[in-house]
Amino acid sequence: MEIVNRYIYAVTKSFSGKQKAEIEKELKANIDEMIEQNQSAATNEEKAKKAILELGDPEKLADNYRGTKRYIIGPKYYELYKFVLKIVIGAVIGGISIALLVGSIFTANQTFVTTNYLSAIFSGALQAFAWTTIIFMIVERKNFTLEDSYLEKNEWNLTKLPQLPDKKTEIPLSEPIFSIIITTIFFSIFFGLLFSAPEIFAAYFKVGKDLVTIPIFNIAVLQGYRILIIGIFILSILREVLKIYYRKWTLKHAIIHSSILIVATIFTLIMITDNNLWNPNFTTEISKYAKLDFNILNILQNIKNWIVVIIVGINIFEIVLVLYKGIFQFKKLK
């Protein structure tokens, strides 16, 4: 009967594999039984409907089978989620406003900038909302499995009480909040400019009375890296959210933080070391306007190498620092 199949589908659609098959089979047998045992004069269709109504809301029945409720963002993270969402959306709106303001100074087409302001704000806020929600969804799912295995394997006891935070390992709340705001503003400005006024990423020269600009990047290639850039942004926000969650450096937090940092660094290096990213004519054009008596090509190659060294250096320093704090905390627990 179609209605029975639809009901069984509604209950079991969020399950998979063997569990799904078992619940389907059992539920079908139970409903058939309920129809058969109904001695009234009603048609089979009506009996089926009555049985289904007796079983009730398929979502609730599925929750009962699962034994737990499922959330996109559960009560454990909801307050934190609202908090971060406000900061991120605020920062995005602020960032886009600044980006378009700066962009309007450099572009001739003023109306383009102003008419696009509202739609940029709207899509920016929407993106901020979506990405923040996705990050929290991941945290929610991840924690769900962590907690389940935790409950099964470990009995709570007195030694599990967390240490009072130590000045050395404590993370003041202001640090991640400040980072989220700065990171979001920076990325919003960067992203806003990348798509509204990409010609701004250039070297500026005064030749006589004219201002000459030479693009630093190959804009099409840079725009093509948007997924990677968004990825780096999400990873930075994720690191800060974890800081708000843990509020101190534990060994586990330090390891997760370092892993995220390594992935973000690899993303950054993939972009920077891509030779197509840089404007191939930059050196020839620059030598046209600036009379330089040294080899500009060599200098630029050196600058690129130095950028890589500095990025890797800063990140290694941060990883060593947080791991040190994490290990310090870990030793103290012993």
Binding site: E26, A29, N30, D32, E33, Q37, L55, L61, N64, G67
Partner: protein, 115 residues
């Protein structure tokens, strides 16, 4: 409106009170094998109604916890999944019964002393 609200609260309190006894009631019926629907009927007849939407998932959970064991009977015209107490479940049931009688006695004392 206000009456309706207190009714709602009262009903949810009664439900809460009953919920704790569902498992013990179900286990008490499973010394002999029963399938889902027959259990719904027999509990209802004995004045302990349990909704099928609560009972079917509960049986599955208790099976996973090794308290019940099940067999599919495919000989009848319709396949039926029969549940009964496992060996371990029988022990658990006996212990729970003792606990329940203790609670019932203490509850009776505590409620009567207030009269």
């Amino acid at each position: 409106m206000e009456n309706k609200l207190t009714d709602e609260i009262y009903n949810s309190l009664v439900q809460e009170l009953r919920r704790g006894n569902i498992i013990l009631s179900v286990l008490s019926q499973l010394h002999i094998p029963q399938y889902g629907y027959s259990l719904v009927v027999s509990l209802d007849e004995k004045g302990v109604p349990v909704e099928p939407g609560t009972l079917y998932p509960l049986l599955r959970r208790l099976e996973k916890q090794n308290i019940l064991e099940s067999t599919w009977d495919t000989n009848a015209s319709k396949p039926r999944k029969y549940y009964k107490l496992s060996k371990n479940g029988g022990k658990v049931y006996d212990e729970l019964c003792k606990e329940w009688f203790k609670i019932a006695k203490n509850m009776e004392n505590i409620l009567k002393s207030q009269e």
